[in-house]
Amino acid sequence: MSMTAQLHLGVFYTGVGPQFLWDDPGNAPHTEIETYVAVARTLERGLFDAFFLGEGLRVRENRGRVHSLDVAGRPDAITQLSALAGATGHIGLVATQNTTYNYPADLARRLASLDFLSGGRAGWNIVTTDNAWTGANFRRGGWLKHERRYERAAGFVTAAKALWAGDGPVERDDDLVRLRAAPTVPRSPQGRPVLFQAGDSAGGRELAARHADVVFSANTAYDKALAYATDLRARLARVGRAADAVRILPGATVVLGDSPADAAARHEEIRRRQINPQRALAFLEQYWGRDLSAYDPHGPLPDVDPTDEELDPSRGTISIEHRTGKLDRIRQWRELAEAKHLSIHQLVLEVQPRQPTFVGTPGQVADEWARYVRDGVVDGFNLSPYLVPASLDEVVDKLVPELQDRGVYRTAYTGTTLREHLGLAPVPEGARG
């Protein structure tokens, strides 16, 4: 990688979920437009490339009722980002949108409209689902088999790109994608929305190699990130794309402190507030398939047996490897709790996966990120905040200046479009690529 390797930062704002410390007095209201405008403007102050909104097409549940412990409720991503386009001038605006439960021509048109109105700042984070529980909100619920979700996605994205190229009507008629539509939106200053891809399965990686401009990767730790970059570049070579045609931005959380010990203590405190006793009990309820509210989260594991049913997706998407083997997992947890004398709360703190987090002083994190980007392992990070606005303010106010001091971060926006922020080659006129 060249000496001028630059770090690109985005914020992935799901707006919902257990990571938000909603009980903190500094927590801004989650559905108000003012919160979004303030965050987007903070990110522009910090010269970020992009502000991402997540997607969830069904409100999470716990045993048939809406899950009550986490932040829930969010706006439609493209509508909200359009409102932000009018209130901001530089930041990229990226909508996570699903290829299973959208119509290609409709979604392509709404994304193109956002792209045009924002002066070429739109992006689409392409996700898929196979999940019939989510599909119950849509005209054709649960229609797509797990193995074919990326086939549908590829046909969908190909149709969208053809519409954005504006060469005339687009027609497709197979068992996964059916449309006949004409382009209605003029070409934006960046040609078309920037395509992000987030899935880590082989199908997802292949979609990224063929279509994506940016991957929102799940591989954040240095070694995993290196392995991912190597794999992606091999896939790019196989489809005839340049090794630097795709920006790699793994998801990450940042916890800063005045000293290494202070940062570590803050990190631990945040985790204990995220996985509080009530959430620990609710986590086990998902596995037990039973009401465990009579159990003390500070006491031993429930003596009642779990149900036989495997996990359902009502608490969020379940990775394929977690869709079976529930009872074995619970058996292991019982052994662990027994051996280490863990309460329910302590066990869940131990077994819940940790989000990839950079913990340290601003200088430490800046040094680590500079190494990542200079080694060509990543092009930047997509940060997930745990407290809005405070956890983003501190990144902008404390970490960004350290990155600038190290010469790995811009000191001013040099372009106007998201493509230009990311340093991607322009989309040629009329190109379908």
């Binding site: 909603w22 969010r74 359009s82 009018g86 409709d106 193109a112 956002l114 209605t184």
Partner: protein, 342 residues
């Protein structure tokens, strides 16, 4: 029923996608132009801007998605209400409900939905849908409008409780499945988006769809003022709270638009004031379709609206008011709030 008072102000809406919206030399699709047009309509004191739409490009031209355009001006305005058109036949009802609820949140209650029901085969083909018969189309209108309204109610106003003692962010008894089963689709719910500020967005629909859509505002398009009155009366008798007349307008030079089936004004600003005065007793508002927005809007702002205000027939919306408040429509009770808690 008492007879309607003659001095009640008319609500005035403006369709911004008329035949020729551009300033000479301006890019009619540009975000800057869009922002200027809506800001101009707001300054003029208009109640509502409507954004026409279709999945098909207009003849020989281009057009951006209406909800996306309305959202773009959400934070650039603070009085005028915004009503994008969206077609029930080419939308996922769940997405449509979330998009419009989000627009209402972003505008603090200034959003409305202009119900479209295109059955053109070319429009249906954009979503891979076969043609629809007229009976099925009415059922589709009824089903989509109903489920969208149910989804807007799926979160009660006080669902978010942030109860630190119990760790509960929301009260699960106040966020509801809607369990809608329509003729051709079902929706489980709840919506991903909390209840919009207006509770339920103002729904506008042509009076010809009123039986299926049960709109808050019926739009009557008829070239004959007597027919407009008759149809307005009919719509009210069938339970539509408000009725707006559709009118094409042009002042002076620009020639009249082709046959649209609407009232037509082609003449001086004073003549338009007279026409609106005669309508004021029989309709609650008008939706104006200017032939040339760039030249007609300044005439509306500078001459027509001031004359109407003087006659007590126009009151601009107030900053901070929701569209429902501006129109005098009550905020509906939540249909799920009355149910026994299970």
């Amino acid at each position: 029923m008492t007879s309607r008072t003659r001095s009640r102000p008319l609500h005035i809406a403006l369709e911004i996608d008329g035949a020729s919206t551009a300033n000479p030399g301006a890019d009619p699709l540009s975000p800057r132009h869009l922002a200027e047009v809506v800001a101009g309509a707001e300054r003029a004191g208009l109640a509502l801007a409507t954004f026409d739409d279709s999945p098909l490009p207009p003849d020989g031209g281009l057009r951006l998605d209406a909800t996306t355009r309305a959202a773009y001006v959400a934070t650039l305005t603070d009085r005028i209400a915004l009503a994008p058109a969206s077609h029930v036949t080419t939308a996922e009802p769940f997405h449509l409900a979330a998009q419009l609820a989000s627009l209402d949140h972003a505008t603090h209650g200034r959003a409305a939905w202009l119900v479209g029901a295109t059955a053109r085969p070319e429009a249906l083909a954009t979503v891979g849908r076969p043609p629809i018969e007229s009976g099925a189309l009415r059922q589709e209108v009824a089903d989509v409008v109903e489920v969208v309204r149910r989804l807007w109610d799926s979160w009660e106003d006080d669902a978010v409780i942030k109860d630190v003692a119990t760790g509960r962010y929301l009260d699960p008894g106040k966020v509801h499945h809607v369990d809608f089963h329509g003729e051709t689709f079902s929706v489980k719910g709840p919506l991903i988006t909390p209840r919009p500020p207006q509770g339920s967005l103002v729904v506008l629909a042509p009076d010809t769809l009123a039986a299926a859509a049960r709109p808050d505002v019926a739009l009557v398009a008829d070239p004959d003022p007597d027919e407009v009155r008759r149809r307005a009366h009919h719509a009210r008798d069938h339970g539509t709270p408000l009725v707006f007349a559709e009118a094409d307008i042009t002042f002076g030079a620009t020639g009249p638009i082709g046959c649209t089936g609407r009232l037509r004004h082609h003449g001086s600003p004073a003549d338009l004031v007279s026409l609106l005065r005669t309508l004021a007793g029989s309709v609650d508002g008008v939706r104006l379709h200017p032939a040339a927005l760039a030249t007609d809007l300044p005439v509306l702002a500078g001459q027509v609206l001031p004359a109407l205000r003087e006659a007590g027939l126009h009151a601009p919306p107030e900053t901070g008011a929701t569209l429902r408040e501006s129109l005098g429509l009550a905020r509906p009770a939540n249909r799920f709030a009355a149910l026994p808690k299970g």
